[in-house]
Subunit: 344 residues, 2 copies
Amino acid sequence: MSKTTLAVIAAVSAGAGAAATATILNLRPNNKHVEVLNTYSPSAIPLPSSSVPVPASQVFNPPPPPAPSSSPVSNVKGPAPVNPAGLFEYGFPGPVADLAARQAFISSYDRRTRNPHWVAEHITAESLSRREGDRKHSTFLEDESVPEKFRAKLKDYFRSGYDRGHQVPAADCKWSQTAMDETFYLSNMCPQVGEGFNRDYWAHFEDFCRRLAGTYPSVRIVTGPLYLPQKDPVDNKWYVKYEVVGSPAPNVAVPTHFYKVIFAEDGKQGGQVAVGAFVMPNAVIPNSKPLQEFEVPLEVVERASGLEFASKLPAQRRKRLCVETSCSLVVKEYADRQKAFAKK
Amino acid sequence: MSKTTLAVIAAVSAGAGAAATATILNLRPNNKHVEVLNTYSPSAIPLPSSSVPVPASQVFNPPPPPAPSSSPVSNVKGPAPVNPAGLFEYGFPGPVADLAARQAFISSYDRRTRNPHWVAEHITAESLSRREGDRKHSTFLEDESVPEKFRAKLKDYFRSGYDRGHQVPAADCKWSQTAMDETFYLSNMCPQVGEGFNRDYWAHFEDFCRRLAGTYPSVRIVTGPLYLPQKDPVDNKWYVKYEVVGSPAPNVAVPTHFYKVIFAEDGKQGGQVAVGAFVMPNAVIPNSKPLQEFEVPLEVVERASGLEFASKLPAQRRKRLCVETSCSLVVKEYADRQKAFAKK
């Protein structure tokens, strides 16, 4: 019921009547919305003026900032009359980007869109050669480490018209059943167009990434959703527009695009890294489309996502992936292999 | 130029030709996008398995998680073949929610939308009674503590059709010129509809908050943007749609709605807190509209924003603001006061 309120309030426009609001309020009086989900303890708040120990659990999902004992008030006569950081007595608002360290990848979750911010995996020829996991033993899982009110649910995807699209592909994690199982958390999923994208062009693109591990000793892939503006031809303004799927109320955003940032490493400490960034629409893409048409400067992904992927990678260590190697899909070979696999 | 690429890539649909992409790539070859903005040092990475000191600067904008020395691999024969956390050698992707501690408020910035996540202020009868700051001495400022590529710019607002809408109102910070000046950072702004909203209903709502400080010894207000879905009457699906303004390319999201979460405190340690949450559309709202129509359960704001505002405030300390006091605007009185003020 409470999820309905999000939908209802969205409909509360300037012209809406009191009825809708009253309905919300009658359904869930404000003072019944008490949840103590934040287990962060004030006694552990690190002070800004000194270095104090921070428990690992707080570092991994970083703790709120401390309440400054006094504001940096410079031109005020006498003490500052207010203490804005006092709010944090009631809990730090966040945002919290729920980090999860899995066997084969690390993920960061966006509580607002109910999609990951990013998932970061690592593959090698050896990791791909091991076959100890099988996806037929895996099942899609809600991520219970995410608080219920921010969690993507199985029912949100049900009959949504979209695939539960793995961001780290299950096929990259066959080296252990647990590693594979962990790719099935919904915190590793986004709603993806199935036919023509997730099951086709995007799958071929994932295969391209795996093939890189045949050329490079170590390959890192960061994957995630984007919500990009399009220009409206009528009013010439830019709008972000995306669907939100869910049941009983809209809950999970449907990204307009997806990115992958690929780091193909030469395996040497401080060695060369071939970097490639790609952005694809969450839409049917013909197999005939050259992969390189989706290559973008890394900064495009950074500006669009609000993230930074290589801030500490010096220029002299960088190569451009699609100069170092051929950025092209092998659709036929992939299709054949899938067929061969299906016969097994 | 680089900002244009965001706009260009948004237009890269499955059907787009190679020309657009090639244009991007020619303009800004990938390996020239080197920026070392992240000054986070790997030697300071706190280890997950023990407590180590964290410098205050890192606590305030929380540092990336550590690279686990070994993954929690349980059912793997031998060592795990991969190390996904190795990515962080290149920098932690974020997201970073740039926190700023000002004299009168604290703000958290969303690098993706170029709006705040939230701004948290504190007002009292005494802070409002002091008149040492005057907005005629203040100027709108880009927030240079936010990296350039994620920063809202003055030119983004110029001729956008929207006001630079203060989230913490300047009028709440007259107790020092610096406190007032700091409300003019663009990291305290969102694009707001001017006539009929920012200059009218929303301004009356801000006045309502100030009047609370006449009743309650201490008032905290958290304000921020929302991007809410609306149901499309044609296909019955839910869509989030919002404009993105900017020059030369779209940069700053125009929120569909705004929230305020108000904590009216009785001034006693561990005392009663009257909580009210409100959501208003970023649109013209007639002054005749009762304020209470915009009251919502706190959880509605939390689900929509991905934030939590009172996770550590026990139920027995909570009251409902609009039960404790009259949640209504005083439009006439406010207009008169503004008129009187204008004559000064």
